[in-house]
């Protein structure tokens, strides 16, 4: 074998090693897709139909549902935290606007195994300021400035059959709470953490976050519209009760390939 041939063979081996080595290490990070669904105890929500009964026995219907989630974090099996930061890290969901029911943030996540997902229901104190959203539909979630300002975390509008079979409207609106004098304000946003046991994939990675409406009325606080009344924006005790229930209102599932 001539020296030139040795040189050529050596170069070829090095090149192949490099290529093999690159292929081994080059696993592209993935873009997650978040899908938002709403159900009532497992059955898809049917809007405007007085067909649901909560644990307290209230017969009710839901007509509109709008809410914010923010600060979505995915935690790997070895404890690393990846936070979704694009789109202001805040996503608006409106069951009447299909485009809001899917969210593809531009953040990239490594392909690995994840043990949990968490998010803030609502918007944290630092970000929840008037002027954050100037365009609809998010803009129309604004919360009165004299009541703490910022934005509603959620508007769930519907009707229930009150005592005596009277139909009454309810507005389960959550946001910054205040005392009766309007001198003290309470940040009612809360963190939801859901277990995952998944391995993400190089192509499609879909996280489905499902709100079970009935859970807002069950645990730990039994919710009876006849006791709370239909409106709670100026009732911090009721908002706090609702928020504690709301922490149990979500599930997550994953599909990927």
């Amino acid at each position: 074998m001539t020296p030139q041939r040795y040189q050529f063979t050596f170069s070829l081996i090095v090149l192949m090693l490099l290529l093999v080595s690159c292929n081994d290490e080059k696993v592209e990070p993935i873009t997650p897709l978040f899908v938002f669904k709403t159900n009532v105890d497992g059955a898809q929500l049917q809007k405007g139909t007085m067909k649901y009964t909560n644990k307290a026995g209230n017969i009710y219907q839901v007509d509109e549902l709008q809410y914010f989630i923010s600060e979505v974090q995915l935690i790997t099996s070895d404890g690393q935290v990846f936070t979704i930061e694009s789109d202001s890290a805040i996503h608006y969901v409106d069951i009447d606007i299909p485009a809001t029911l899917e969210w593809t943030p531009t953040d990239l996540l490594p392909v690995t195994s994840y043990s949990s997902i968490s998010f803030v229901f609502g918007i944290n104190e630092a970000k929840n300021k008037i002027g954050l959203f100037v365009n609809p539909p998010e803009r129309d979630m604004f919360w009165p400035d004299m009541m703490g300002g910022g934005y509603h975390y959620m508007k769930m509008n519907g009707k229930w059959k009150a005592t005596g079979d009277t139909i009454k409207p309810f507005n389960l609106h959550l946001g910054i709470g205040m005392n009766d004098e309007g001198t003290v304000f309470y940040q009612n946003y809360f963190k939801v953490t859901l277990p995952l046991n998944i391995q993400t994939n190089p192509t499609r990675n879909e996280f489905t976050i499902t709100m079970n409406i009935e859970k807002w009325f069950e645990t730990p606080n039994l919710w009876d519209w006849n006791e709370t009344g239909g409106q709670i924006m100026q009732n911090q005790d009721a908002m706090l009760k609702a928020c504690k229930n709301g922490a149990n209102a979500f599930e997550v599932s994953f599909s990927g390939k």
């Binding site: 405007g48 007509d63 509109e64 008037i130 002027g131 100037v134 365009n135 609809p136 803009r139 129309d140 604004f142 919360w143 009165p144 400035d145 004299m146 009541m147 300002g149 934005y151 509008n157 519907g158 009707k159 009277t166 139909i167 009454k168 409207p169 309810f170 507005n171 609106h173 239909g230 409106q231 924006m233 100026q234």
Partner: protein, 398 residues
């Protein structure tokens, strides 16, 4: 032999004539194009977005706003010959009903449209009472009381303000005209072809360009300088009564107006969405929101109108049933009729309304009057030009 030479010569001449013809035709054609494009250089019209106002605007990509387009639109808006007719009794412009001093409604004290009831050239009433023309550039949810003019409308002729202009020309309850006559008449008026050229690059008047120009002008009608705007900007204080009214306006246990009509977080003072606000229990209007969505829950629902300049835009509601602001507030306080179609945000509906005291009602009116915008009502650029392109007098306006 000579015949062959002669034949070849004729063939040569005819071929040369043919080529020459093509060259002359091409030259003429390119010359025409060149002439049309020579000094067509419209200036982009920039809308300055006031603080807290939406940054996203409803301007179709095929009708970008230009200074020249807006100016042409302003002339057409106030030209009674937009009806396509010249008889003095048949002159009707947009400005005939849309008066700047009444926030581009006709107002309840109009000498011709008694009680604010509008009708067209032939005397046929409009189906509904008027809506004001304010901040239309930020409406993404559909125009008119039912929102029937919206971007995703399967009917491409009913998608934006441009389409409303064409509808106004032909509707029996408005100009009752013919678009061919309108464009022919506008084409024949001295000065207009030149304005069309400056705005759109062609001297030929088309209904499409008429509509585009009027729509451009309509999108410039921006209100952002009321007393409340000044309060939000820290330039002016509200009185005690006005502040009391503001708190009522913005609180759920008060009058709770803000969910549908906006406020500090939505300075348009409307969500531009549609609600059944409990005026009736039987719904038989063929032009309500149901007529657009087909959703039974939308029976009796109409657009929440903006409250800017609302004190000038009576009578109120789609059917003009309330003459004064006080009557409207009485209705929301004690007169709401409960039905299964009432929107759940009307949460006081089951006991007839928000139950305000006389003082609270007065405070609420005081606050609502802070939404009057004198700048909007008097800005010369929104009003009629001194004269139309041929020197004729504008119709309507102030």
């Amino acid at each position: 032999m000579s015949c062959m030479v002669l034949g070849n010569f004729r063939w040569f001449i005819s071929r040369m004539m043919f080529i020459l013809g093509i060259i002359i035709f091409a030259f003429l054609f390119s010359d025409c194009k060149h002439e049309d494009a020579a000094d067509y250089n419209p200036t982009p019209y920039q809308i300055v977005v006031p603080k807290y106002f939406p940054t996203r605007m409803n301007i179709p990509s095929n009708n970008p706003m230009t200074v020249e387009g807006v100016e042409l639109g302003r002339n057409l808006f106030y030209d009674g010959r937009l009806s396509g007719k010249t008889h003095p009794d048949s002159l009707m412009s947009c400005g005939t009903c849309h008066l700047q001093s009444s926030s581009f409604e006709c107002g309840i004290n109009h000498p011709k449209f008694i009680g604010g009831r509008t009708f067209g050239i032939t005397g046929i009433n409009t189906p509904h009472f008027m809506l004001p023309m304010i901040n239309l550039v930020w409406n993404e949810s559909g125009y008119l009381w039912s929102g029937s003019i919206y971007e995703e409308n399967p009917n491409p002729a009913q998608r934006n303000i441009e389409d409303i202009v064409g509808m106004a020309v032909t509707a029996p309850h408005e100009f009752a005209g013919d678009t061919n006559k309108t464009k022919a008449l506008i084409q024949s008026i001295n000065g207009y072809p030149e304005l069309f050229y400056k705005a759109f690059g062609s001297h030929t008047v088309t209904m499409k360009n008429i509509s585009k120009a009027v729509a451009q002008f309509s999108r410039t009608l921006i209100s952002s300088d009321s007393k409340f705007d000044k309060y939000m900007r820290g330039e002016q204080q509200l009185s005690t009564n006005e502040l009391n009214g503001y708190v009522l306006f913005m609180t759920e246990e008060g009058a709770d107006c803000f969910h549908c009509h906006g406020g500090s977080g939505n300075p348009l003072f409307t969500t531009n969405l549609f609600y059944n606000n409990g005026k009736d229990s039987v719904f038989n209007d063929s032009r309500d929101r149901f007529s657009v969505t087909g959703d039974p829950s939308d029976h009796g629902a109409y657009k929440a109108s903006t409250l800017r300049n609302i004190e000038l835009t009576g009578p109120y509601m789609h059917d003009g049933r309330f003459k004064t602001l006080e009557e409207v507030i009485d209705f929301y306080s004690q007169g709401i009729i409960w039905s299964a179609n009432v929107h759940p945000l009307m949460h006081h509906a089951y006991d007839g309304g928000i139950q305000l005291t006389p003082n609270e009602k007065a405070d609420l009116v005081s606050f609502i009057k802070t939404l009057r915008d004198e700048t909007f009502l008097t800005t010369p650029a929104f009003g009629p030009p001194v004269k139309l392109p041929d020197g004729a007098k504008p119709i309507g306006g102030k």
